[in-house]
């Protein structure tokens, strides 16, 4: 039987575990303002809470993880349909969302600046490693057999946040992004699109993400002629091991 452990000291009361749990195991403790497992016997061990917790405060034990069910978009949609109910974020107003987005933008700008300040030329590796690691969060993309199908699925997945067009050539793919989620942040910070640290991080992230699904290594090359939000990723030859 699955068992739950919540590290209450790290809980930031975001209520994501309350929203995501398909069997409503969690509630918020009104006094302490932390999540609590009020109905632990109802836990089915789907691990959605553990996965979604941004503070990594929820741990699920005693369950066998055969498939990353909780990470599949399709599975999440099925669960929502089954529950037929509105999550708590339905009560969030437009101004709440604007405020939260503003906060996220500020944090991302600071993150980009601090990464550049600390890593110097190592910034690109950080971005690409992040992309490589992020691939596991969209496991259904591993099932695609070709680069074309991976990119088409990514296009669909990121249509709302990172809309892009792509063109596959011999060993490279040319991308052209428009109105991506980072563009506004960079422009607000009066920084240069394309060369800002967030843009560099994102371009490398994208190369890492696509590379992970295609089992290849891609290097990023800017397409300056086509604008700051266009770049290519070119496959690198895999080194022969001695």
């Amino acid at each position: 039987m699955p068992s739950l452990q919540i590290e209450t000291q790290g809980c930031r009361a975001c209520t994501l575990c309350v929203d995501v749990c398909p069997t409503q195991v969690f509630d918020m403790d009104p006094q302490k303002q932390v999540a609590q497992a009020s109905r632990p016997d109802d836990c089915v061990g789907c691990c959605s809470c553990e996965y979604i917790c941004p503070s990594r405060c929820v741990a699920v034990a005693g369950t066998e993880r055969q498939l990353p069910f909780h990470r599949l978009d399709e599975a999440s949609r099925l669960v929502s349909r089954f529950l037929q109910q509105q999550p708590s974020h339905a009560q969030v107003s437009a101004s709440d969302v604007d405020w939260a987005l503003g906060d996220v933008r500020t944090r991302l700008r600071a993150l980009g600046e601090s990464a550049t300040e600390t890593m110097g030329r190592g910034l690109k590796v950080v971005g690409r490693t992040a992309g490589t690691l992020a691939a596991a969060h969209l496991p259904d993309l591993y099932e695609n057999s070709s680069l074309d199908s991976v990119l088409n699925k990514l296009k669909l997945r990121f249509a709302g946040s990172f809309p892009f067009e792509f063109q596959i050539a011999d060993k490279s793919v040319a991308f052209s992004f428009s109105n991506c989620a980072i563009q506004q942040i960079v422009q607000e910070g009066q920084s240069q699109l394309g060369s800002d640290s967030l843009c560099v991080l994102f371009h490398e992230y994208w190369a890492g993400l696509v590379g992970e699904y295609c089992k290849n290594k891609f290097a990023v090359e800017p397409n300056e002629k086509q604008g700051p939000c266009s770049f290519s990723i070119t496959a690198k030859l895999v080194n022969q091991r001695d």
Binding site: E117, T118, M119, G120, R121, G122, L123, K124, V125, V126, R128, T129, K217, A219, V220, K236, N239, Q240, R241, D242
Partner: protein, 122 residues
Amino acid sequence: MSTRTERIQEVLRGFRTASPDIIGASVVSIEGFVIASVLPSEIDEELVSGMAAAMLGVGERISSELMGSIMEQTYVRSEKGYVVLNAVGNDAVLVLLTSKDAKLGLIFIELRRRCAELVKII
């Protein structure tokens, strides 16, 4: 006529023959891609290359901020040995793994000599 990668590989093999204390060597681009390597099979060279490029970046930042000069070398000492990072020109870095008994003076002389060779090839 050997390819560039083969020539780099040859220089790296030379490290291992130069001293039994040198466990492995790898040349990595500043973007973190492996150019050539002679690392033991149990070491994940992709991981090493990513970390080396990141460490080179941090090393350069420390050197310029605290010393006001260009970084030449970074090394990490552990219980089992040393990891030495040396810039190879502007676009690559040489990663050298040695045992804990390695004589660093000799290693550095070897490193300087072979880095000069690598700069010409790269």
